[in-house]
Amino acid sequence: MSGNLTELLARAGGPQAPNALAELKRSRERERALEPDELARIATRTGLPEATIHGIATFYEDLREPRGRRHIRLCTGTACFAAGAPQLLRRIAGELGVEPGCCTEDGETSLAEVYCLGLCHSAPALCDGGVIDAGPGLLERVLAERCADVAAPEPASMLERPVLIAKGDWSGLERALTALGPEQLLAELSAAELRGRGGAGFPAARKWQAARAHDAPVRYIVANGDEGDPGSYIDKYLMEQNPALILEGMALAGYAVGAEQGFILTRSEYPRAKPALEAAIADAQRAGYLGERIAGSDFSFQVEVREGAGSYVAGEETALIACLEGLRATVAARPPYPAERGLYGMPTVVNNVETLANAPFIAREGARSYRALSPGATPGSKLICFNERFARPGLWEVPFGRPLSELCEQLAGGVPGGLKAVQIGGPLGGILPAALLDTPFDFEPLAAVGCMLGHGSIVAFDQATDMRALAAHLLRFGARESCGKCFPCRIGLQRARERFEGCQPPVRGELEDLLAALELGSLCAHGSGIAAPLRSLIEHYPRELGLDER
């Protein structure tokens, strides 16, 4: 985003100014279509140019898709793909007489696709108005207009004493304020070697130190709750069922880096997350853990929750910042990194919500106890989740370093239809054939087999899965979600998608050039990462892909 737009935002009041995306979302709820008059009013209210408002309104899926009085969104994310969502989509479209992405002429019913509602354990999933339903009998319930909310599975832990599924109780912050101080807290975090859980595995302490080192009137803590990975419902669990732990982690980050304001970005596909976090914020304020002079110290900290509007790339940290500012969630070239110039131009720590949820334990029990959770592997523990193809899908807290086969068999009960392959860590993660399932679940061993730990989702494909259809599915996701900024991803993913959706066999040489352009040329890990599962498929299932070897 341009410096001048940052300046305009600052002039309008920065974080206090009316947020353009929030205004657009509100209008959209009321009016079903965003008319030019309304956009012009929003421009006036936010102090932003009309063109800028138009640009935002055409970026986010929630603002773009046509909406009827009854708005149905079927998930076609990877877990739902594995459970037959594409076929279900065609059935629903046929029965209701409305094409996906369209609205009936009378304005009554609209049908849209959505990427992941966080019910991957009961896939396929669907959102009918405000109700989120999933699982067997879904078609019948949609047609009878009798959808009902589905409950989340109870989380479980392999740890003797759970860390991430134990409810937050603010004891870590209390210890930091009374016994540690910011420097000692940073030292503990550094010794704990906490690695980011949002995908890249970057050391959290280094980010915190960098933000602290940059001189500025204010600093911000941003919790990334955008969990866009289809197949993942880890952050959903944390935000909806253990929000205090995230808030405590944010407050600790604030204390360590000298920030007094935090923001969480939740996604609109998880409508319960924002209210749950807001209720937890109110509780914490009442208990004196958020607000002015926390627990009698001179540390003050506030948290505000903002919600996105349908964009995968909004989870990328520079796009996330733009989204929080209410702008188009496109990626910005780094440097500058957010720790130097982030939200509203100020030094900002961006951490995944699960990363932050580790901080209270470290503050309370120290780095040594933390490292002991996963002997001989990456310190700490990890939340993982299994999709509906498993016999016992659900959410687990596990130590690092266990073989995937143990996790898939013992925790999730294996795959009744016979396991063909798993995709780990979201759409940008490689695909591991069943034969390699003895790979340990940890950053480096997974990277060695062309996969990644990513955010920790494990999506199984059973023997019936057509790997060429899977390639087309992933590329379609990539192309639809591309932010459109850099050329290799903007054009390359469209072309790659066309190659696999068409009837012609993709030509090997062209595909190799396309993948190289994506991997080496893309501005962010969306474009470069989508190449990883394609590489796996080419390596392990060349015949099924039906490549033209010319």
């Binding site: 341009s2 138009h54 188009r328 070239a333 459109g484 054009i491 190289a516």
Partner: protein, 221 residues
């Protein structure tokens, strides 16, 4: 002195750094990008989204170069030089990506690039005449409501130069990027055309546009 011990000189300690460009060493100012250094050395690096009047954007990726020690090619326009950096503008991996990206760009247009446009000249210079990547192209959409400015959306490659020059140089904020992914484009005002936007008719967008998607009308001269 840290330099004597063979450690890199920290940026604060001096106002210039030395970089090696295709085998020759040169001195560049602290904070200068590889593109600026190359220009000074008289080396031409292809660019499409770059305009020296604007902040670097890093979108087209045509300026990719090899940098010793970096895992992948780096964009010359957004990468700052550091002392001892070894840059190779002929890096094979970078050249391969650049050719592919240029082919991709040609593939999004419904026809050949506008003769004489920056894109046309660049494609000829790099010897990329046609694209292997046929597929969907941008829909024909013309805005001819403004007396002097013409927008032909199907020629737009979303380099963002028009939007940025309107914002950064003119301060008029008449333009925006629209949509996303392959459907990304640009629009004036609330997609209401230049004539019905905060456009001040300065023509900066037409001047910077590398494809002629926005250009001055000849029929009204």
């Amino acid at each position: 002195m840290s330099a004597e011990r063979g450690e890199p000189i920290r940026a604060e300690q001096c106002d210039s750094v030395r970089v090696c460009l295709d085998g020759g060493w040169l001195e560049v100012g602290v904070g200068e990008t590889i593109l600026q250094a190359a220009e000074r050395a008289g080396r031409e690096i292809p660019t499409l989204c770059f305009d020296r009047r604007l902040a670097p954007f890093g979108a087209c990726r045509l300026c990719l170069v090899g940098v010793q020690g970096a895992g992948a090619p780096l964009p010359a326009c957004t990468t700052r030089c550091h002392d001892g950096m070894v840059v190779d503008t002929t890096d094979e991996r970078a050249r391969r990506v650049v050719r592919t990206v240029l082919e991709l760009v040609l593939s999004e247009l419904p026809g050949d690039p506008l003769p004489g446009s920056e894109l046309d000249v660049l494609a000829r210079r790099l010897g990329v005449a046609r694209s292997r990547f046929a597929g969907r192209t941008h829909e024909r959409r013309h805005d001819e409501r403004h007396p002097y400015l013409l927008l032909e959306s199907e020629l737009c490659i979303s380099c963002g130069r028009c939007v940025r020059i309107c914002d950064e140089l003119q301060g008029a904020f008449a333009l925006t990027a629209t949509g996303r992914g392959f459907d990304a484009s640009i629009a004036a005002g609330l997609d209401s055309g230049f004539a019905n936007s905060s456009c001040v008719s300065c023509g900066a967008c037409a001047h910077t546009c590398p494809t002629g998607a926005i250009r001055e009308r000849l029929d009204t001269l």
